[in-house]
């Protein structure tokens, strides 16, 4: 007989929650970046103090170009997404690593293709690209920052100033979109986060 003092919860209608997790992929990423004391890494946002400090303490120079905010602004002003790529005006072969977090989840298929091509140009040979993306049923309606903590633990912080549509790409489509790269590692977590580490040949 059930104890009447213990509440019975019904999770069947619960919203997916963003549970913290420990990123295996980021550990791998840093192992590879750590081999170069002159590593330069680009992060396309959202701007996050913890991530800036985490990376800036571990690589030679950490570059930030927040495309989330700019995409948000462009959409509000009705500007074409193509204007966004003008901000990635770095010289070719500049970076050892590029962090895309879940930015591709807010782009159309064509836009992802353009971004991936640009990243390919900006990366040094054997440079790494880190991507996260949500499984469809776990994707939060609002944008959250992946906040890096010690031990490569990831927590999430709501960015309620950002309002961008979300797209879903299956593993098969994602892999096809990343065909210019070699997929080094990928992880799927029970909180719905998918991580991909790709290397430019």
């Amino acid at each position: 007989m059930a104890n009447p003092t213990v509440p019975v919860y019904d999770y069947s209608h619960a919203e997916p929650s963003l549970a913290d997790y420990t990123s295996m992929l980021l550990k791998k990423y840093f192992e590879k970046l750590g081999r170069s004391s002159t590593a330069q890494v680009l992060d396309v946002g959202p701007v996050c103090e913890e991530n800036i400090i985490f990376f800036a303490q571990r690589v030679k120079r950490f570059h930030v170009c927040d495309l989330f905010l700019r995409l948000n602004r462009n959409r509000r002003k009705g500007l074409p997404v193509n204007k966004l790529w003008e901000f990635l005006d770095y010289p070719p072969h500049r970076f050892d690593g590029i962090n895309l977090w879940d930015f591709i989840d807010h782009l159309t298929n064509d836009e992802v293709g353009r971004l991936v091509h640009l990243c390919h140009t900006l990366l040094k040979p054997r440079g790494m690209m880190m991507i996260t993306s949500f499984e469809k049923q776990w994707a939060p309606p609002q944008i959250h920052t992946f906040v890096m903590r010690d031990g490569f633990q990831i927590t999430f912080r709501l960015q309620d100033h950002l309002d961008l549509p979300r797209h879903y790409y299956s593993n098969r489509i994602l892999t096809a979109m990343l065909s210019d790269f070699q997929t080094v590692k990928s992880f799927i977590y029970r909180n719905g986060v998918r991580e991909f580490l790709c290397r430019r040949d």
């Binding site: 996050c48 930030v64 977590y189």
Partner: protein, 175 residues
Amino acid sequence: MLKKGKKIEDNSSVAYDTVTEQKTITPAPRPEARAESTTIGEQITIEGNIRGGEHLVIEGSMKGNVEMEKHNFTVGSKGRVEGEINAQNIKISGQMIGNIKTQGKVEITKEADFMGDIRAKRISVEDGAYFKGSIELDQEPHRKTALAGKSTPTPAAQPANKPNSQTAKEDDKEN
């Protein structure tokens, strides 16, 4: 001429203050330790380099380099600055294009629109800030090497109340 501890709102007030003070005011000696501050008001535009011995707040428009290694520099929420900045601590709340160098802290608030490279000992950035640039944190030479090799705690070390978030599946294609 810029006045210590006064906010300069427009050109007429600059002239008035200057003349008045020259004729009628004999400034009292100020204690050395007191941190003086100058604010460039919203209606002021400056072109040229600044070398300062007190804190400076820009609420107007400025084009030029700033050298004030022992004092703080602030771009207020209405300020627009284009130039290289070397100051003790730097706070950006307005628009700024240019590189920053400091022995102290750089603070970028959510109102900021900053484009440039930062070299500092510490940095804080608020969510929502427009930022395009790079960050290089000054550290002891051995620090980066040590941090780069920092190991990750095993999943067993993670909080027990987050069991569902751990890795479910791995796909390793590494050569």
